[in-house]
């Protein structure tokens, strides 16, 4: 895998985006960035910095107050924090629902859903309901459902935040594998610095109230594969994040 130099049109363009709720504080301000096709970007910030709001705007669940965004015409796939599987459907049923709403004909859905579940190593668990699955299995099902939307852009809102450390490590490997296999553009929101360095090619640090991009780092493969370099970068980012938080003291 090579570092993307974005020769073609970027997947996402954000221009001077701001978001404020009527009568409330400004949540996001002056956000400008572009995300290349196939890039894996992590958005990092303390709680309440508007990370999720930014994703909701990109997913067109909420309109921006000012500024402009450009996302792929077909919109974005979205993976939620937790508990977003519909409890009355089986794991396969949840994936099939995404296919159905995308307009895949009924005959092809079952086959396609089974393939997607195999991709996240859940081939055997398709007939189980969400409450019978462990937290990790649920989030892998949610990942399969997001992939079933077949959008080039995948937005992920702290998808592994509620998982135990062992499962989370494993899902990092899993997500990296799926990303390389499918070539999606991924915007991944997290408050975990180590997770951001582990997954992202680029890490954007958002300040809090209002949320602005204060700094960004490239995480090259050589840094990621060198434990000492990765640890050093993690420390740098953590220091910068803490500095940002202590501003609010």
């Amino acid at each position: 895998m090579t570092t993307t130099t974005a020769p073609e049109a970027p997947s996402v363009l954000i221009e001077n985006l701001a978001k404020a709720y009527p009568g409330g504080p400004t949540v996001l301000e002056g956000i400008t960035t572009s995300i290349a096709r196939g890039e894996f970007v992590c958005i990092l910030g303390a709680s309440g910095c508007g990370k999720s709001t930014l994703l909701n705007v990109l997913a067109q669940l909420e309109p921006p107050t000012t500024g402009a965004i450009e996302v792929p015409d077909d919109g974005a796939a979205f993976m939620f924090q937790e508990a977003s599987l519909l409890p009355w459907l089986t794991a396969r049923g949840n994936v099939e629902l995404a296919l159905r709403l995308r307009g895949v004909p009924a005959r092809e859905r079952r086959q396609a859903a089974t393939e997607l579940l195999h991709l996240v190593h859940l081939g055997e668990a398709g007939g189980k309901r969400p409450h019978q699955l462990s937290g990790g299995m649920r989030q892998r099902t949610a990942l399969a459902r997001a992939l079933a939307q077949d959008r080039e852009l995948l937005l992920m809102d702290e998808p592994f935040g509620a998982l135990d450390a062992i499962t989370r490590d494993l899902l990092h490997d899993e997500l990296e594998r799926v990303w390389k296999a499918t070539g999606r553009t991924i915007v991944f929101v997290t408050h975990n610095v180590r997770e951001a360095v582990r997954l992202g090619q680029r890490v954007l640090l958002l300040s809090s109230r209002p949320g602005r991009i204060v700094e960004q780092w490239q995480v090259t493969d050589s840094i990621r594969n060198d434990a000492a370099a990765a640890a050093a970068l993690t420390r740098d980012i953590t220091d910068r994040l803490r500095q940002e938080i202590s501003h609010h003291a």
Binding site: L61, H131, Q132, Q149, L170, D173, E174, A227
Partner: protein
């Protein structure tokens, strides 16, 4: 990754961890973790537990029989279970019992079905249109509290002694409960389910059919259950008050007949028959439906089975 000896052969000691474990390794790891973290099969139902209600009924019958033997009241005022059973057997032998149960059940079920057909779209409409909900919500809740017997005189004046009277009263009894059940079910849908529907690109109709209705189903079923109870009660009230004309002979009519004849055994036999029909419907229809629905969603606690 020294904790994984199988990888060490392929990775000479470079000091750096392997860039990514092979796909089969992730698959195996996940399969192991999935096995460790998943629950076992659900516990089976306890036979003794399901026999407890039967024991309670038998005990009640014994107390009743003993009381009637003790002769505290005249036997025509407090007949024992055996006398009532004989009266039920008589009614069964000449066919009035079967006819009354069939007539009442048919009316109850069809009236209830009509109520479902009216209440469901009405509730969906109220849930969608905020203004309408604000205007009609209190009225619907009020109607739920109003005893449906109150409609009987009005219905007799409008429709006379016909089946329409009975159906009207049943309808007024059941509809508000079903509407309120579905409405509260829709109110309780976790907001992330709506977001899921929006993100997956559901149209308004798909939203209603594939997300809202199934998500609200448990509360809807609760409303249906209560709606059936109101239907059955309203039906009996209507049958007791409105006798004659073209109205057929139902369980309520049988109860009223017992009163006219001053036959306490017949009155108690009719009460028992009304009670038994109610219990049978609950045990055969609502209880299994509810249990299945909740179990599939993992909402059934073991003690409540």
């Amino acid at each position: 990754m020294p904790s994984n000896p199988t990888l060490l052969d392929d990775q000479p000691a470079t000091g750096a961890p392997p860039s990514s474990p092979s796909a089969t390794t992730i698959g195996d790891l996940e399969a192991g973790l999935d096995r460790l973290q998943s629950q076992g099969p659900p516990a089976r139902r306890d036979l003794v537990r399901s026999l407890l209600p039967v024991a309670a009924v038998v005990a009640l019958l014994c107390v009743w029989q003993i009381l009637s033997w003790a002769g505290l009241k005249r036997s025509d005022l407090l007949p024992g279970p055996l006398t009532v059973a004989a009266s039920l057997a008589d009614a069964f032998a000449d066919g009035t019992l079967q006819r009354a149960v069939a007539t009442s059940l048919l009316r109850g079920v069809s009236g209830f079905a009509i109520a479902i057909l009216i209440a469901t779209p009405l509730a969906l409409l109220l849930a969608q249109v905020r203004t309408l909900r604000a205007a009609l919500g209190p009225l619907v809740s009020g109607l739920q509290v109003l005893p449906s017997v109150a409609w009987v005189p009005a219905a007799i004046i409008w429709f006379g002694l016909t089946d329409a009277t009975v159906y009207f009263v049943v309808l007024m009894g059941a509809t508000p409960s079903i509407v309120n059940g579905l409405l509260s079910g829709i109110d309780q849908i976790p907001p992330q389910y709506r977001s899921v529907g929006t993100v997956l690109g559901a149209t308004r109709l798909q939203h209603t059919l594939l997300i809202t209705l199934p998500a609200a189903l448990p509360a809807y079923l609760g409303g249906l259950k209560q709606g059936w109870a109101f239907s059955w009660r309203s039906l009996m009230a209507a049958e007791i008050i409105a006798v004659g004309g073209s109205i057929g002979f139902g369980l309520g009519s049988m109860l009223q007949q017992g009163r006219d004849l001053s036959s306490m055994p017949l009155v108690m036999a009719a009460i028992l028959a009304i009670l038994v029909v109610g219990i049978v419907i609950e045990l055969l229809v609502f209880s299994p439906l509810e249990r299945r629905l909740l179990r599939r969603r993992g909402l059934l606690t073991q003690g409540a089975s």
